[in-house]
Subunit: 406 residues, 2 copies
C-alpha cells in the first residue's frame, strides 16, 4: 500500500512529538507500506513569523513574506527526516520546490498549477521516506517561493497523494476525526465513521477547521480517499470518500458554526442592473472572499438593500471599499455588523429529503433565535444569527436532527 501522511503543527509541535511521529512513521514502514510524509510548521511558528514581520511593518510585501513563512515547514520537515534517519530508516526532507509543487504567482494564497513530484516517486521507489515541507510551492519558472494559504499543508498532501495515486491520504491532527459538531459545544457530539467529499467540503467551508476546504475539493476532483485521524492515539478516524447510498439515508450529518464572519449592509441602493456586479467585483479584486449575499426585493422599484458577509479580518477593508462605491452610486449608508455567527447543517440526504429547512428555521424560532440571512445549497442550509446565540443554536439543531444517534 502507498500511504501519504500529513502531520499538522501540533503533531510536530516539539521535539518529543517529532520523535513520536517518527516512531509512528517507522512502525507503519515496518508493515512494508510505501510512505510519504507532509508536515506543517511546528505549532505557533507561522504565527511567530507573522508577528515578527508585523513588528517591522503593517504591510509586509507578500513575496518576501512567503519566503519567510516557507522556512517554518522546512524546519519541521528537516527535523522529522533527521529523526527518522536516526532510527535507521532512509528519509529525505524535501522543500515544496523539491517535491515539485508548482503554483501560480499569487503570493500568500497561491494555487497549485502542476505537480512534478518525480523526485518524490523516485525516493519512494528506492525505499526512502520523503518528508515534504507542506504549505509551500514554487512558481512555474522555479524562481519564487509561494505559499498556499492557511491549512495549505493538507493541500500539499492531497496533491502529492493524487500524483502518486496513493491508496490513502492520512491527515493527522489533534482531533481524532470529524464530529457531528464541535464537541466543545455539544457533549453528545459523535465522531463520524465516514463522510462524503461534498459534506466535508461544506463543513470545511463552514468553519470546521479539521480539513482545509481546497484540499477536500482537490481530493474530490481526483478521488483521493482521505482519512482524518489523531496523531496522539490509534483511533481509526473519519474516512472522507465518494458519496455512497448509505450516506443518503442520513439527512443531516453535521452542524457547523463560524464566528469569523461580519455582515455589511448597504441601504437604498439604486435598483439598476450592474450595481451589485460592480460592488462585488471591487470587493473581489481586493482578494476579499464574499460568502453570503442577500438582496431584498425593491419595494418601490427604485431602491433596494444589499447585505453580504465577509471574513471578520476583512470587514474593515470591505467596508471601506463599499463606502467608496456607495458614494459613487448615491446609495445610502453602509454599515458593518460583527457580532454575528453562521450556523449551518450539512448532509447529502437533504437532496432526497424535504422539509429539512423548515425544521431548522422552526427550531431556531422556537428558541427565539432570529435569522438575519439564509443561504442554501443542495446539501447545506446556513443561517446568520446573532453571535450570542451560537452555542444554543448548535445544541438545539444537534438535538432536533438526532445527530448523537448512529
Amino acid at each position: 500500500m502507498l500511504i501519504v501522511q500529513k502531520y499538522g503543527g501540533t503533531s510536530v509541535g516539539n521535539i518529543d512529538r517529532i520523535r513520536a511521529v517518527a516512531e509512528r512513521v517507522v512502525k507503519r514502514r515496518e508493515e512494508r507500506h510505501g510512505i510519504v510524509i507532509v508536515v506543517s510548521a511546528m505549532a505557533g511558528e507561522t504565527d511567530r513569523f507573522i508577528d515578527i514581520a508585523g513588528e517591522l511593518t503593517g504591510k509586509p510585501n507578500e513575496r518576501d513574506m512567503d519566503m519567510l513563512l516557507s522556512s517554518g515547514e522546512i524546519v519541521s520537515a528537516s527535523l522529522l527526516s533527521i529523526a527518522i534517519n536516526s532510527m535507521g530508516y532512509n528519509a529525505i526532507a524535501l522543500t515544496g520546490m523539491q517535491a515539485g509543487i508548482i503554483t501560480n504567482t499569487s503570493h500568500t494564497k497561491a494555487k497549485i498549477e502542476d505537480i512534478r513530484a518525480g523526485r518524490v516517486k523516485e525516493a519512494v521507489d528506492s525505499g526512502y521516506i520523503p518528508v515534504i515541507a507542506g504549505f509551500q510551492g514554487i512558481t512555474e519558472d522555479f524562481s519564487d517561493i509561494t505559499t498556499l494559504g492557511r491549512g495549505g499543508s493538507d493541500l500539499t498532501a492531497v496533491a502529492i497523494a493524487s500524483f502518486l495515486k496513493a491508496d490513502i491520504c492520512e491527515i493527522y491532527t489533534d482531533v481524532d476525526g470529524v464530529y457531528t459538531t464541535d464537541p466543545g459545544i455539544v457533549d453528545k457530539a459523535r465522531k463520524l465513521e465516514k463522510i462524503s467529499y461534498d459534506e466535508m467540503l461544506e463543513l470545511a467551508s463552514l468553519g470546521a477547521k479539521v480539513l482545509q476546504a481546497r484540499s477536500v475539493e482537490f481530493a474530490k476532483k481526483y478521488e483521493v480517499p482521505i482519512v482524518v485521524r489523531s496523531s496522539f492515539n490509534y483511533s481509526p478516524g473519519t474516512l472522507v470518500v465518494k458519496e455512497d447510498s448509505d450516506m443518503e439515508k442520513v439527512v443531516v450529518s453535521g452542524v457547523a458554526c463560524d464566528k469569523n464572519q461580519a455582515k455589511i449592509t448597504i441601504r437604498d441602493v439604486p435598483d439598476r442592473p450592474g450595481i451589485a456586479a460592480g460592488l462585488f467585483q471591487s470587493v473581489a479584486s481586493n482578494n476579499i472572499v464574499v460568502d453570503m449575499i442577500v438582496q431584498n426585493i425593491s419595494s418601490d422599484g427604485k431602491f433596494t438593500d444589499i447585505s453580504f458577509t465577509v471574513p471578520k479580518t476583512d470587514a474593515k477593508s470591505a467596508l471601506n471599499i463599499t463606502k467608496q462605491i456607495t458614494g459613487e452610486l448615491g446609495a445610502g449608508e453602509a454599515t458593518v455588523l460583527e457580532d454575528i455567527a453562521k450556523i449551518s447543517i450539512v448532509g447529502v440526504g437533504m437532496r432526497t429529503h424535504s422539509g429539512v429547512a423548515a425544521k431548522m428555521f422552526k427550531t431556531l424560532s422556537d428558541n427565539s433565535i432570529n435569522i438575519m440571512m439564509i443561504s442554501t445549497s443542495e446539501i447545506k442550509i446556513s443561517c446568520i444569527i446573532s453571535l450570542k446565540y451560537t452555542e444554543l443554536a448548535v445544541r438545539v439543531l444537534h438535538d432536533i436532527f438526532e445527530l448523537e444517534k448512529e
Copy 2:
C-alpha cells in the same frame, strides 16, 4: 559605486537591529550606490537548530541538517527585505540557490564551485536591493541545499562581490575592525587601518573570528577589496587588500591565539616511509583538519614520535582513528592533550626581517612559557603552549613587538 554588504548574526539579532540595518542600507542607497546585501542567521538561531537536532540524535544526517540550517538565513534575509521594502525601497530576498551559489555536495562544509548570480545582477540593474541568505548554496543539479560551514556568509558575500566585480565588500560585524590582538586580553590592542590578504588569512586561520579564512582566500584570489567594520557605529573599520610596500615596513601586524586545539601524540612509531601518510590520510578522510604536525628525528633509526593538532571538537574521533592505526602498526601509546593553546605572530614584514622567531622564542622563554610545538610560514610563527599561559603569552608578545604603536 557597487557595494556588497554582509551583516553578521548579531547585526540582525533582533527586530530593532534588523530595522537599524535596513536604515543603514537605505542611507547608503540614497547616496546612489548599487547595494547587495548578504545576511547571516539571527544570532543564536544556527546554534538553536543544532541543539534541537542534537536532542533528536547524536549524529543528524548532514543533508537534512543543511536544509534545516539554511532556513536560519532565509528568515533573516526575508525579514530584512521586508524591512527595506517597508521603507519605500525595492528589495528582494534571495535564497542561496536563487542567488546562484553553486557548490559541491560536501554537506555542512560545501565548497563553492560556481557563481551564477545573474538574477542578483539583474535585480541591481533594475534598482533593486537583493538581500541574499548567506552561508548556503545548492548542488550543481539544483537538487540539494548545502551549507558552507561556520562563517560561510562571509564567503557568500565575497563570492557575490567577485561575480559582480563590486567596488568593495563590507563585512559588518560586532567589532569595528581587525585589531593587533584580542582587546579583551590586551588593553592596548590597536585597530589596524589596513592589512594584507595574507596577514588576514593567517589571523583568520589562527582563530581571529572576525573573518572566515576561506572568504579571505577567495578575496585574495579574485582581488576583492574587503572592509571589516561594525554595524553599530560609523567607524571606518579595517581594509583588507593586496599587500603594498607600506605594509612591509611593519614586522609584526598582530598576535593571535587559538584555544580550540588539541594535541595528539603517538610514541614509538616504526620509522618507515609511508607511515605518516597513512595516518594523516585516515584522519583527513574523516573530514578532520590537521593543523600542526611535528615528527621527531628517530634516535635509533627505528622508532619515532609524532605529534599533531586538531580542532578540540574533533579530538575524540581523531584519537580513535589514531589508536586504530597505531594498533595496526604496532606503534606505542596514542594520547591526547587538550589543555593547550596556539600563539601566533603574523606580519608580511617577516619576509624581509630576520630574527623575529628568535625574539618570539626568547620572550616566551623569559616568561617561563614552555614551547611544545613550533610551526612557521613565510609570514607567521606559531607555538603550541600550555593553555594557562595563553593570555600572558599574548601580552608579552604584543609588548615586545610594540604593536600598540602606529
